[in-house]
């Protein structure tokens, strides 16, 4: 491997030229160029649906390009499947975790490459030890012998990263690896990526967070609508410039919440407890107000949201909607009472992948759309069109299965589905995870607008700027308890962090 210095204009390790890929009528990639140089971290940015993940899957051998050339070390590269890509030294972290829930964490990491002992048997001990070493490198503790089922999204992502690292690959491709990670883990990941670069590997990094992009990468390629726009040194670019190239126009990257008159209390949660997950959680949200629930990963915010909505049961406490008690454990009743929950895991909880965009968008509203118990196609379509248009969902047609949409567009469909129920109370868990910059501002504007219309909004977010920019009040959770309530004026980076790490607990 050529130990090129970062940013050196050495010969590219991997080069893509004119790569084209379409799915039916959708052209996901149109003649894309990409050159990955040894020792360099290269960012790939673009809006949702720009074709980043498709490019990644092409590199990984999971998709065969319709046209175009790939060369590795100057030699043409033909990938017939993911196994070929691995053999060529390409390790990939996909946008959605691809773990085997029934197998142990260590097996997940070393599947197909387990260390062997006599008779070509698998050496489980050595495998667990190696896994433990990898986790040490990443600075996390995950029991290698436990099954992957039940890991939180962040942990799943960490296992994926460990897996990719275990290859000691020459090319590391990471598709939004940080979307579910916290600052510390991101830093460690970057540390590892940099050390790989120092050893001459090439890194392809995808993220919607520009601070990360500029922090890690020396070169940035912009995609728009499947087409290559530019590849430049990061040093020659600014965030605004990148955004302009991505979107093709100016966008303000954040949209602060507009003040709206506060109305009556719509959601009231009192003494909510669930053994081992959260305890004695109390808060209320008024119409016109956005309350943010902040905290570290695993603080139990999502669990509270799920319990309030009725997907999970709780052991004690009560939930009141506009003064009336909501029966526990019944999402149907919660919806009827005017509540909506945009869940954090869109693939598992938010969407029915095989169903069409239209069916997904109207799924939660199907009762309201029926007349005399019968569903009428026209009303459904009109409703779906209204919301997908408002959220600018990019899909070939409304009848296309949601699975064919890009990650960010899928997220928008989830939003559309819940907004279509015209809720009074909107609980929204990581609303902009994986959403591109333009749409993010759009979502923020929408949330602000909805609050202005009198909705009570409870927002769970791991992105501090989002929390600080959008919330009227910030509730900070730590280890299953609400430890701090900060009005907008008092909420800043330090005060929230302080409370979230448990140091500011007023107990």
């Amino acid at each position: 491997m050529s130990p090129g210095a970062p940013g050196a204009d050495s010969a590219p390790l991997l080069e893509l030229d004119g790569v084209t890929k379409s799915f039916g009528a959708v052209a996901a990639l149109r003649g894309v160029h990409l050159a990955l140089h040894p020792g360099e971290a290269h960012a790939l940015v673009g809006e949702n649906g720009a074709g980043k993940s498709t490019l990644v899957k092409t590199l990984a051998g999971a998709h065969a390009p319709d046209a175009g050339r790939m060369t590795l070390d100057g030699r043409p590269l033909q990938l017939r499947g993911p196994a070929d890509a691995r053999a060529a030294g390409i390790a990939v972290i996909y946008q959605e975790p691809t773990l085997f829930p029934d197998l142990s964490v260590a097996e997940n990491i070393f599947m197909g490459r387990q260390p062997l002992r006599g008779l070509r048997r698998i050496d489980t001990r050595a495998m667990n030890r190696d896994a433990e070493r990898l986790f040490e490198r990443l600075g996390v503790r995950i029991d290698p012998a436990r099954p992957a089922r039940g890991l939180s999204i962040a942990d799943q992502q960490l296992v994926e990263i460990a897996k990719a690292l275990s290859f000691d690959a020459r090319i590391l491709v990471m598709d939004e690896p940080t979307a579910a990670l916290s600052g510390v883990e991101v830093e460690r990941l970057f540390g590892v990526a940099r050390s790989l670069c120092e050893r001459g590997a090439a890194v392809l990094f995808i993220s919607h967070r520009f601070d990360e992009v500029f922090d890690l990468c020396q070169r940035i390629t912009v995609l728009r609508d499947g087409a290559w726009v530019s590849s430049d040194r990061a040093a020659d670019l600014t965030v605004d410039e990148v955004v302009r190239r991505m979107v093709g126009r100016e966008v303000s990257s954040l949209y602060p919440k507009q003040d709206a008159p506060l109305r009556d209390t719509l959601l009231e949660v009192r003494g909510l407890s669930r053994a081992g997950v959260f305890s004695d959680v109390s808060f209320s949200v008024r119409g016109g107000e956005i309350v943010a629930l902040a905290g570290l990963v695993g603080a139990g915010r999502s669990e509270v949201a799920r319990a309030v909505f009725g997907v999970d049961r709780y052991d004690a406490g009560e939930v009141r909607v506009a003064g009336r008690a909501l029966p526990p454990g019944n999402p149907g009743r919660a919806i009827a009472a005017g509540m909506a929950l945009v869940p954090e895991d869109r693939r598992q909880q938010g969407l029915v992948m095989e169903l069409s965009v239209e069916r997904n968008a109207t799924l939660a509203r199907r009762r309201a759309l029926s007349r005399l118990g019968l569903l009428l196609g026209g009303a459904e379509r009109a409703e779906a069109r209204r919301w997908t248009r408002r959220l600018q969902v990019k899909a070939s047609r409304l009848a296309a299965p949601v699975a064919t949409l890009s990650g960010g567009n899928q997220q928008k469909v989830v939003l559309a589905k819940w907004l279509a129920t015209e809720p009074r109370i909107l609980i929204i868990d990581e609303p902009t995870r994986g959403i591109d910059v333009g749409t993010k501002a759009e979502v923020h504007r929408l949330l602000s607008e909805l609050a202005g219309e009198g909705l009570a909004i409870l927002m769970i977010s791991s992105e501090l700027p989002e929390v600080l920019g959008m919330a009227d009040r910030v509730l900070v959770m730590h280890e299953g308890r609400v430890v701090r309530e900060l009005p907008r004026a008092e909420a800043d980076e330090t005060s929230v962090m302080y409370a979230a790490t448990g140091q500011g607990a007023i107990s």
Binding site: T98, R141, G183
Partner: protein, 350 residues
């Protein structure tokens, strides 16, 4: 910039993980418990039956038991291979019937054929049926249940067509071959030894070999398996061929054991085989070949002991059904308790 952080390091410091390799994975332990409970159930059944009738534990009776379960064990183990990849093979009964009849025909056509040749040919014919199943599934990318439901009919139809209502009798087959079905080695029926070898080999393979683990990976999350470069199509194909070959083996052994063959041999066996695998815990959490084998032994023993206990014959099938329900219910209970324990301990630090 994001704000979340993991409390892991602190937590882990309080709770250092035990040295690597010293403890077995939770999944593995779960399976061990599963197999243990099956053994217990089997023990209890034998005990109760023996208390009522002490001849149940006589040498002859044990020999009969072992003989009786051998074929089902082989089929259940083969089915395990298929089920762990999240597929199912409903055509095993028909493959068994076809191969059994073919074996008889072979001896009719060439009476002098030595039995090992017959055995190999039978296994090969079974494998060919497996190739048909696996090929259709791989090429057409259609759920195995549908394809094998189709070949369940198709193979049986071929068998019927071929047999055309004829029967092949013990007298048509060489003594040496028939002896295979009844012979004992150190008091253990040869048939059961064959089954034991199959169980051990498949069990060991599934647990300790890369490709064996890949089968579990495929069953656990097929899409992820594809993305991790596991040759899913090839593995699934191989699994069906292997299962076909085992069904072929079972077919030859069936011919040796029963001596009387017509085209109906093994009809309806597929449900018993799936039931054995289900009782053995395969359908619910991956499961192992050992569990499936124990499931098969348990089911056969139930059949025998009901006969010995002289349970009203009209009740027998109902009791078998109730026991299947009880077995999977127990399974579930165990799984839930394990899951509760998983939830109890955080992901970070064991």
């Amino acid at each position: 910039m994001s704000l979340t952080d993991t409390g892991a390091p602190a937590q882990a410091a309080e709770n250092p993980p035990p040295g690597p390799g010293r403890r077995r994975g939770l999944t593995e332990r779960l399976l061990a418990v599963r197999e243990l409970s099956l053994l217990l159930a089997l023990g209890a059944l034998i005990l109760v039956t023996t208390l009522r009738n002490d001849r149940f534990l006589s040498g002859q009776s044990i020999k009969d038991l072992l003989l009786g379960c051998a074929i089902l064990v082989i089929l259940a183990v083969g089915q395990t291979l298929v089920i762990v990849t999240r597929n199912v093979d409903l055509s095993v009964g028909s493959i068994l019937g076809l191969v059994a009849f073919a074996t008889g025909e072979l001896f009719l056509a060439a009476p002098g054929t030595p039995w090992p040749v017959a055995l190999l040919l039978g296994v090969a014919l079974g494998a060919v049926c497996g190739v048909v199943n696996g090929g259709l599934i791989a090429v057409a990318k259609v759920p195995a249940l549908v394809i094998t439901l189709g070949t369940l009919y198709a193979f049986r139809g071929i068998d019927y067509y071929w047999a055309a209502g004829r029967q092949i009798n013990a007298a048509d087959m060489p003594r040496s071959f028939l002896r295979l079905g009844n012979q004992t080695v150190l008091g253990v029926p040869a048939l059961f030894l064959v089954a034991l070898i199959v169980v051990a080999a498949v069990g060991f393979y599934l647990r300790s070999y890369r490709s064996g683990r890949e089968l579990y990976a495929i069953g656990s999350e097929p899409a992820a398996a594809r993305l991790s470069g596991i040759p899913v199509g090839r593995r699934v194909f191989a699994v069906f061929v292997a299962n076909g070959a085992l069904a072929g083996l079972a077919g030859v052994l069936y011919a040796a054991r029963f001596g009387t063959l017509d085209a109906a041999a093994g009809t309806g066996l597929e449900l018993q085989v799936v039931a054995a695998a289900v009782v053995g815990g395969v359908a619910i959490f991956g499961g192992s070949a050992y569990g499936a084998a124990l499931g098969a032994v348990l089911l056969t023993t139930i059949g025998s002991s009901l006969a010995v206990l002289r349970i009203d014959p009209f009740w027998q099938q109902a009791v078998v059904g109730a026991l299947i329900l009880a077995a999977i219910g127990l399974d579930r209970l165990l799984a839930l308790r394990m899951a509760a324990r998983l939830r109890g301990r955080s992901a970070h630090g064991a």
